[in-house]
């Protein structure tokens, strides 16, 4: 067995409801696994250091910076990415609210931002404004000034749309 193989490990991970068994390098991040191995490029890399939140995905119901999680650590867990949010072409209520309020400009922070919002609303369907700001405070956005994003999340909570 070569050195490269020794540094690899087989993992079974569920991503957006689909189960994958793959051999991954021990130093591969979950972010790189999603983007480079599964071609799920909706999850973005903004800094690679866990500071910007662009790579946020949901792991077992909790938002994580996928650049700080190793792919091998994700083995045996359930991952939800932006690609798994809309079903059969139908947008999730959070996605619709982001459009209504235009909590989007360049779109690069958007997937991570939406995943943080989803994790918040799943555990707390009626957050206060402060709780919303807290929940997305790890997601940097340079375009929108956050107001329309906060309004979008509030709107979803008020409408009580869930899925």
């Amino acid at each position: 067995m070569g050195r490269e193989e020794l540094l690899k490990k087989e993992i079974t991970v569920t991503v957006n409801g689909e189960t994958f068994t793959k051999s991954v390098s021990c130093n591969k991040t979950l972010l790189s696994f999603l983007r480079d191995d599964l071609y799920l490029t909706g999850t973005k890399e903004g800094c690679g250091e866990g500071e910007c939140g662009a790579c946020t995905v949901i792991m077992d119901g909790k938002p994580v910076n996928s650049c700080l999680v190793l792919a091998v650590e994700a083995g045996g867990h359930e991952i939800l990415t932006i690609e798994g949010l809309s079903r059969n072409g139908e947008l999730h209520p959070i996605q619709e609210a982001f459009i209504r309020h235009q909590g989007i400009q360049c779109g690069f922070c958007t997937p991570g931002m939406i995943m943080s919002a989803k994790a918040l609303l799943d555990r707390n369907p009626h957050p206060t404004e402060e709780e919303i700001k807290d929940a997305i405070s790890g997601n940097l956005c340079r375009c929108t000034g956050y107001k329309p994003i906060i309004n979008a999340v509030k709107d979803v909570a008020e409408r009580g749309e869930k899925r």
């Binding site: 500071e51 459009i99 235009q102 690069f108 790890g138 340079r142 906060i150």
Partner: protein, 792 residues
Amino acid sequence: MSNSYIGKSIPRMESFEKVTGIAKYVHDMALPGMLYAKILTSPHAHARIVSIDKSEAEKLPGVKAVLVGSELPYKLGLYLIDKDILAKGKVRYQGEAVAAVAAESEEIARRAIELIKVEYEPLTPVFDPVEAIQEDAPLVHEDLGSYDYMKGVFNPIAGTNIANHFKLRKGDVEKGFKDSYRIFENEYTMPQVNHVPLETHAVIAEWTKSGRINIYTSAQSPFAVRNLMSIAFKIPHSKIHVRVPYVGGGFGGKAGIHLEPLAACLSKKAGGRPVKIVASREEEFNTIPSRQGLTARIKTGVSEEGRVLAQEIVYYWDAGAYADYGVNIGRASGYSGAGPYEIENVKLDSYTIYTNHPFGTAYRGFGHVEFFWAIERQMDIIARELGIDPYEFRMKNLLKPGSITITGEKIRENTGRVDKCLKTVVEAIEWGEQKTEEEKQEEFKKGKVTGKGFAVLHKAPAMPTFTSCSAIIKFNEDGSVNVVVSGVDYGQGTYTALAQIAAEVLKMPIEKVHMVWECDTDTGPYDWQTVASRFTFMGGNAIIKAAHDAIDQMKEVASAVLRAPKDELEIGNEKIYVKHNPDEFLTYREVAMGYTYPNGNSIGGPIIGRGKYIAQGLTNLDPETGQGLPALDWTYGAHAVEIEVDVRTGELELKKVVSAFDVGKVVNKLLCEGQVVGGVVQGIGTSLYEGFVYTPDGRLLTNSFTDYKIPTSKDIPDVVEPLFVETPQLDGPFGARGVAEHPMISVHAAIGNAIYNAIGVDIMELPITSERIWRAIKEKERRDQRAKTLKG
């Protein structure tokens, strides 16, 4: 359906792509056989490169190309050709690219970079722009005198660090000062700041063996990339193909040319395999350019009644190691650098100065964020010292219809109204009755003091006199259209506004207007650059012309088929009909690809509308006096803020920001408001948190999100209120003018003015950190105490 789409709040057309992760950025792309590149950067701010040994790196399996500066006989520059693709002979800032590797994987490239050995001999650096123009200062570019530059527009001075000296002379300042009741002299500074687009710069380039260069890049200006590459490499434009997919924010930082030439050269060396470079966040801060720093000295003479009689201004721009857009920022800030005021006597010198800092480039506001910090703080200080309300003081001096600007331009009724913007925001914060000294003392004792402040702003597109753009409207078989432009929508929402304009003129549903997303220099029509808040204005005008061209072509066909003169035809509801008999019509669909008569005869052919627009009436400015017409359109604005300061900690809470802009005509309210709210919050970052910090030897300390903080969701004011004034711009599309950069300008000055209003201290340096406020409070307490003691 007159005017039905203009003014409508329509969400971005690409919203679905962006909320689902479908939108593809260069970051997300890969080509077959693609290599990955990494860059070795300089650890020194100023040093001679003694030797580079890359042999170990070249031996590493998987490495396909290793490049150093001496292999690249090319020079780059926008207006002043001063930059090598990789440092040659010496390095001029810490973070400058010295060598690069392309390899089979990022990991191999990273390892190879570590194997390159560079020997440096440190040189004396210079960091402060004011020091850098002293006679004995170390030279950043010894060869400045031999560099090529845009003559007649810029003025580099050989044998100095001055990359450009812009001069403006109006009236007689000496006489103005002599006639003045009082004279005020102050210095203001602003550090360098970074754009922080969430997507760092990314490029994939291939230089094929056939001699073509194909590029995918996260650039704001595809044609500028092509043009600059063509000049640098001496390759015909037609052999360079630049494509721009979705771009994750730019703010000016992706306007010029950055990693594209390096990726192309690596590809050439690797035998034509495509090479991808993605800047790390550290490189985004440290290697790729940021906003220039500014030291501003202003001397203002005023009459007893509060008229500004004379102003002498010197702007010292910290351009960093290369000129890039910096020389044009110095120029733009020169011709508009006294603010939107009518001043009879002005002397202004704007020096773009080389230093050993990372270099400066365009950033939202293009110099105006920087100098308005000085101008609008200065105006408040003067008003207060004269005992005049700062609102009244500004109203006495602001430009109005009939005023002459400092370059000699006459302001007209349709130029826009800065006074209306100011009035709007001042009313919104209920400026008026001031707190008594007792009330202030009472608040101070409680520990939290409130204050209000405001500031005005203006900006015109800073661009060459010959700036032009074009648009194509292609009809599809079903009667829908594809609109092709080459300005980039990197988040501003311009494409949506342009679709509204196209739908409006073509009188068709906006759902049938498809904006072609990827910009492509091979197939798209020319556009100069997507900068300067000019895309809606110029692109909009080009689209209106393209739509009229398409309509004319359709009428040509309809005229024959309907047997009616062209001028008796009208359009509406996707039909061309006879004015007096609307039942006689052809649908767009029937003529889109050519009309076919029942017997099979056909006429016309595919409808392709073509439109163009070139800036009109602009002149080069007189090199000695700066007089002339530099501005296509002026957008005016004002901000007013309400703050609360914790006097024990210096913490500042921004409670409310109200902003008003004279945008001529709001094309899309939802998106206009988005520009304002986003710009204001970006301006808050510059005001309160952001600024490059260096070690004494010029190493950047703030090169990560750990050390460089931008506003988060928890740092925004309770209220950000965007308001619009509409004085139609007669030559703007439906009366519109640009508003992309403006929301970021003058936010800091409004806050600075509010701080004085609250606690009586003047902050002269940015950013206004809590520490700076706390120190100013302590200093004031010491002063007050000393005054008391002296009195006692």
